[in-house]
Amino acid sequence: MRKEIIKLNVGPQHPSTHGVLRLLVELEGEVVVSCDPDIGYLHRGIEKLMENRTYHRSIPLTERVDYLAGAANSLGYVLAVERLLGISEIPERARYIRVIVAELTRIASHLFWLATHGHDLGAMTPLFYALRDREIIMDFFETWAGKRLFPNMFRVGGVARDFPDGLEQEIKKFALELPQRMRDYETLLTKNPIWINRTKGVGVLTKEEVLDYGLSGPMARGSGLNFDIRRVDPYLGYDEFEFVVPLGENGDTYDRYLIRLEEMRQSCNIILQAVDRLPKGDIMIEDYQVAFPPKDKVINGEYLIPHYLLVVKGFKAPKGEIFHHTEAPKGELGFYIVSDGSEHPYRVKIRTPSFVNLQVISKLAKGRLLSDLIALIGTIDIVLADVDR
């Protein structure tokens, strides 16, 4: 018997790596001996670019960090800047709009994950079903903001545009219907023997390993670690909503699949509560040193000048440093902003969930079959822009 190690190069162009991930895999037969991810194929220098822009002009950059959940990223950034400035309260309507959009983004991201994860493991139908529902969410964003993937409507101190008439009812209708339609998706996968064979017992993580590798989001909750930042460090008034944080038992790919499905239902639940409580009123604070005046009043000199100064020069933030984290669809998204008292941040570090979660793949893949590697990439739910920034 002669044993030979085969070196296999997966990516950067590969249909199942969800972007431009490259994995250097060493194989013995079909068993993975070692797996070394090579990332950085989508490193765009966002952190460096943000150092040279005013706080407001960085918002479009942050949306492109995790492009499956654009609004969730700019939400994290805007909340961090607000905390840096000491803005603790924004108008109620703006707050609820933020919650609704953040949860819609979570659903959209998880739907896309369901589509690609299923597709990678050989189930083609979920792709078409899940993307059908995702298109509805994209339509909501297009109606509200004029853009599908990146609404780019969150501003420091509120939101830039109110929901158009009737959109709330449409969103409510969608949130009521989605859990019913998800039952159909579950009939395709949850009890499907092929699906169970491909996912059960694959990529098992214990609680200690989760802590050791600093995992967050569904990766941590799959192993039973009760860590949802919406619960443990509430922002945007998430503590007033009723929702369940689903936890897994075995910490394998199948558990994480069930958790993400349950999270979508819980997001629908939060959306329904938020739409019911959505009050009428302002959508932006009235401090025109930092927040944009309403667009229809900008023809008036009283509003025109602060608007002009805000666009051209930006606002000065107090000297200090802040770390603010939010629960993005993929895990903990943190913004560490260091300010030196000028209009530009001195340093912005984006702590992205995918970057940290991807690291564990070398550990999970060791000793497994090559085909499990594809399941593992899917279950970690990475987006390469989120990994590389």
Binding site: Q13, V20, L42, K48, A115, R148, F150
Partner: protein
């Protein structure tokens, strides 16, 4: 093209018929780089249904593909791989650039991003937007179709020949 009056015979040139067949059977390369790739997948999926244009056969291997959609930011680290994929594709091949990043670098004017893939690849169609919606991509595809129809792959080599004019008398 013309139809003969008797027998329903269609008269056309070989070039046009081949171009017409090519136009409705373009096989794109499964190749997503960044945000635009998501819109490309949406175009291929249930609602926009790229199969209407005969393009549903996304090929993971460049050797079976004849159209490359550069969808997303091309970084300097990724550039050698992009060029290699292009060179692996058999002729005739078309390149479509999707989104601002691949067109000109977009909002990422930084040390890591290639400021426009057209410095390195011959581009046929640019689709602007950040990211372009699926309808924009479909419009770009129709533009590629127009370009394919104008492709003089057969008669090009005779273009330089000046046929002598008939002399009267």
């Amino acid at each position: 093209m013309g139809i003969e009056e008797s027998g329903g015979i269609l008269v056309t040139t070989l070039e046009k018929v081949v171009n017409w067949a090519r136009k409705y059977s373009v096989w794109p390369l499964t190749f997503g780089l960044a945000c635009c790739a998501i819109e490309m997948i949406c175009t291929a999926a249930s609602r926009f249904d790229i199969a209407r244009f005969g393009m549903e056969a996304y090929r993971p291997s460049p050797r079976q593909a004849d159209m490359m959609i550069v969808a997303g930011t091309v970084t300097k680290k990724m550039l050698p791989a992009v060029l290699r994929l292009y060179e692996q594709m058999p002729d005739p091949k078309w390149v479509m650039v999707m989104g601002s990043c691949a067109t000109c670098g977009g909002i990422f004017r930084s040390y890591a991003v290639v400021q426009g893939i057209d410095k390195y690849l011959p581009v046929d169609v640019y689709v602007p937007g950040c990211p372009p919606p699926p309808d924009a991509l479909l419009y770009g595809i129709t533009k590629i179709h127009e370009k394919i129809m104008q492709d003089k792959w057969l008669t090009k080599k005779y273009e330089h020949i000046k046929f002598p004019k008939k002399v009267e008398g």
